[in-house]
Structures are given as structure tokens and as C-alpha cells.
Amino acid sequence: MTVNEPSFHSTPSGKATVKPKQTKSWVPALLIGIAIAYLALVQYIPALNVFIQAFSKGIGPFFANLSKPAFLHAAWLTLLLALISVPLNTVFGLCAAWAIARHNFPGKAVVLSIIDLPFSISPVVAGLMIVLLYGRNGWFGPWLQAHDIQIIFAFPGMVLATSFVSMPFVAREVIPVLEEFGSDQEEAARTLGANDWQTFWRVTLPSIRWGLLYGLILTNARAMGEFGAVSVVSGNIADKTQSLPLFVEDAYKQYETEAAFSAAVLLALLAVVTLVLKEILERKTRIKDVE
């Protein structure tokens, strides 16, 4: 749009003089009004509400809520979940992106769709699948029980669920960047005697860094915010297997609305940070495109 608009107005002759026959000046204003009203009803008012509810009784109660042990444990668990599943999915995403973008093979579109699958599977179904695999009556259930390993209703299950739902982000963001970047420079590096690792570290990684960062941010946001899949496998035991999103729901159901909103503010801030970083990265890549 920014590209189209100036050329449209600045050309001195010809096209620029063509204007719609019936220019109704109120049409844009009306459409903008409807768009903003819809967004306000669905997004802005609810988003604002999170912050106002959390601070409705002042800063004191807000911090009191945030220093309760159940909250602290939930926050710690959420951090831990992200710390494990984000690196896992980054390694997978980079390998998958490399394998797919650098090779041509029949069924490439199918493999791409398979990687996207976790997005189209309902989180509850994802959780259910993990229960059917590792639960008491699951495939690995008897073996796990014999070795006294607990996955369902415990932290490992939560890691599995979190990793499942946030799996495709890195691969998805990196594949198009890798494809656009092409393999010429990598081949040049190789003919100059660089090994695979050096080629990746010195040539490939710098060129995909913005795409990778974008994928990382989205992976992290989803990993910290996942509710459905985690709540199926975790059993939602306060102080034990309760992540921050589960804490929000649990506090709300226990009529501790203020505690729920205090925790919700932290997650909303996570969302704000995610959006801001996303915007910065988008501008950076857009500038690079123009160059």
C-alpha cells in the first residue's frame, strides 16, 4: 500500500487524474468507524479490561496476589516449560526447514502439511493423544508404571503437550526465508573448504536470523500461553502441575477473580511484548526487502 499510494498521487498525468465517478467522502470514514468498532468490541475493550480489573483495588493487592506461593510456582513452571520446549522446537524447526527448503522431492507439499498438523489439531485432542500414549491404559503405560516413571499428570507430560502445540512455528517461519535466500552462498562456502557446521554458523544462520527470531517469539508465546493441551495432561494440581494459564482459569473458577486477573496481566504483558517484537522484526525484514 505504501508503495502503491504515492505513485498513484504523484504521477502528473494520465492515471492519476482518474477518480471514481461517485466519490462519497463519507464512505471511508464509515468503513474505518465500523472496523474500529468491531475491533474494539472484540479485542480492545476486553484487553483493556484485563489491566483495569487487575489494578481495580490498587497496586498493593496486585502485588500481594503475585507473591502467593501457588502463583509463584505456576509462573516458575511456565518458565520451565518454555525453557525446555522452545530449544527443542528450534532444533527441530531448523532441521526440518533445512531438509525441506534445500531438497526437492515428491510429496514436499504433503510434508509441509504434516508439519502444520499440530495447528489444525484441537489442543484437547493433542492432550488426549498424549494420554492414550503415556497414560495408565496407554501404549507405554504398563512399561512406564513398571519403571515408576510418571508422565501423565506430571511435568514431562506438560512438556510433551507444550512442545506439540508450539512445534511448527520455527519451521514455518524459516522455510520461506531459506528458500528465498537460495543455496549459492552455502555452496560457495563449501567449495572454499567450510564444513557443514561452519557453513551453517557463518553463512546460513546470519541470513535467516530474523525469520528464526520471529519463529522463536511465536513459539515462546504459544508455549507460555498454552492451556488446552496442558490442562488435559497435567491434571491441574495447584502447586504441582499448574502452569500460569491453568492458574488463571483455576483462580477464576474458585471465585478469586482478582488473583486470576493479576496473573492474567503477566500473560497479557507477554502478549504485548510478543506483538511489539513481532512488529519490530516485521519492519526490519520489510526494510531488508526494499534494499
Binding site: M1, F8, L88, S120, V125, G225, G228, V232, P245
Partner: protein
């Protein structure tokens, strides 16, 4: 690449070893990719299919079409479809406004369209339930009109609208941006009104893209759990959605019941994925023109 192992060696190596050697030639990136996909994706899906197949077909059908299950499909799919269609209209309008007009705070509004992607669903459910409750900011305005939103099916629809809106906007926006301005100008210079230009020139090539956005939003709304479970009262036959039914069955240790409903949802999301791929191929057809 071991292209020419001599025949002697070939005769001595057993089949499984040859297979193993071939496997070792696969680059390690592929091995990690497939290893991870197997553990994280293929095994769980296989476990689910196998669990579902232990159920005799008649029993499977009976559970899948029990009145309670049918009621949850009704709430889940019909409400998702309504939410997606509503977003199809308003999402296209938002994309249009963002691409074609300039107004204050446009950049911020553009950036915040993605809020539902970034905001954890339980927070979304919590705040939507509060805002649309009978004494909430918006709910208190609707209550005198006899419209109850939170803890009803309308509330579920609101949560689904929230969660699926960015899919439509973000799918339509780039296509609208790349659309040739010249075609519109040609239509104008031929005397078409703005409305005619939109209806006859812009909308037809945009239509597959809008449909893709609607399908993406629908598919997300069908699977949505976090926000819908909080805003819904989860009353059977009223606003109980299918994912919650799965959850409840699991809580009662009714694994086959959960699996059957889960299979129905999984199959429908696979069908939707296929439909979205076909739709995307259809909308790309216009690129070459």
C-alpha cells in the same frame, strides 16, 4: 554414496544391514526431523487411531452419534461457522480499511490485529467472560435488551470470533495489497461506481482468499478450548462444546468415549486442512493471470 559395492560384498551383507546402511546415508537433518515428528506427532496419532479401532464400528457409531455428542457438534460446528462467517465479512472490511485508507493510529491498529495469536486463551476467556457478563462493561448494556452473552452459546460465539478474526484479516490483507490498482482505475474510467467496482472487479478474484481465511478461522474455532471453556457454562445440550466433552469423558476415565469424540474432531480437522490447501491452490490460480 556407495554406488558400486562389489557383488561379492553384496551377497554377504544381509538385507537388514543394507537397509541400515542406507538409513545411515540419510542426512542427519532428515533423521532429526523424522525422529522428532515420529515421537511427537506420528506415534500419538497412531495411538489414537489404534485405540479407536479397538472399538467395534457399531459401538463407535453409537458413541459418536449419541444425543449428547450430536448436541456438542451442533454447538461446536454451527457456532464456529457463524463466527467464521461474521469474521469473513468484518475481517475483509478491516483488511480493506487497513490497506486502502490512512487514518491516525493505523500502524498500532494493524499490529494489534494479531492480539488473539499472542494472548493466551485462558486470559482471553477470562476477560471476555467478565466484559460480556451481566454486570460487565458490554454485557451490562446488552442485559436490558434481554441478551445474555457470558455463560451462553452467544458467549461461545464471542470467544470464537475473538480467536478466529486475525486469520481472515491476515489472509486477505496481503492479497488486497498486491492487487493491481490499474484494474480498478480502468473500471472507474469506464464509468463504474465505487460500489460496482468493488462488487464486480475486486471481489471476484478476492473471493477464494476470503474463503480461505474463513476456513482457517473456522478450523481454529472448532478446536478452540481455553477461551470457550471459560466463557461457556458447559451445560449439556446448551453450550457444551465438543472439546469440553472430550475433557469430561477423560476426567471420568471413559477413554473410549473420549477417543471416539476425539477421532471425530481429528478427522474433521484433517478434512478442513485438505479443504484449506485446495482453497489456497485455487486462490493462487489468480496470481498467474
Amino acid at each position: 554414496m556407495a554406488i558400486s559395492p562389489s557383488f561379492e560384498v553384496d551377497r554377504e551383507t544381509p538385507g537388514w544391514k543394507k537397509f541400515f546402511n542406507k538409513l545411515r546415508q540419510i542426512p542427519w537433518t532428515w533423521r532429526i526431523t523424522f525422529g522428532y515428528l515420529t515421537v511427537m506427532l506420528f506415534l500419538p496419532i497412531a495411538a489414537m487411531f489404534l485405540k479407536a479401532s479397538t472399538e467395534p464400528p457399531a459401538k463407535f457409531w453409537e458413541i459418536a452419534t449419541s444425543p449428547l455428542a450430536l448436541a456438542t457438534y451442533n454447538v461446536t460446528f454451527v457456532t464456529s461457522l457463524l463466527a467464521a462467517l461474521l469474521n469473513g465479512f468484518f475481517g475483509t472490511l478491516i483488511a480493506w480499511v487497513l490497506v486502502r485508507y490512512d487514518f491516525p493510529l493505523k500502524r498500532i491498529i494493524d499490529a494489534t490485529v494479531d492480539l488473539p495469536f499472542a494472548l493466551p486463551t485462558s486470559v482471553a476467556g477470562l476477560t471476555l467472560a467478565t466484559v460480556y457478563s451481566d454486570n460487565g462493561w458490554i454485557g451490562s448494556l446488552l442485559a436490558p435488551l434481554g441478551l445474555k452473552v457470558s455463560f451462553t452459546r452467544t458467549g461461545v460465539a464471542v470467544a470464537m470470533i475473538f480467536i478466529s478474526l486475525p486469520f481472515v484479516v491476515r489472509t486477505v490483507q496481503p492479497v488486497l495489497q498486491e492487487m493491481e490498482h490499474e484494474i480498478e482505475e480502468a473500471a472507474w474510467s469506464l464509468g463504474a461506481s465505487q460500489w460496482q467496482t468493488f462488487w464486480k472487479v475486486i471481489l471476484p478474484p478476492l473471493f477464494p482468499t476470503i474463503l480461505t481465511g474463513i476456513a482457517l478461522g473456522f478450523s481454529r474455532a472448532v478446536g478452540e478450548y481455553g477461551s470457550t471453556v471459560i466463557i461457556s457454562s458447559n451445560t449439556p445440550y446448551q453450550d457444551l462444546i465438543a472439546p469440553v466433552l472430550i475433557f469430561q469423558r477423560l476426567e471420568q476415565y471413559d477413554y473410549s468415549g473420549a477417543t471416539v469424540i476425539g477421532m471425530v474432531l481429528l478427522i474433521i480437522s484433517l478434512v478442513l486442512l485438505l479443504a484449506i490447501n485446495i482453497l489456497q491452490a485455487w486462490s493462487r490460480r489468480y496470481d498467474s493471470k
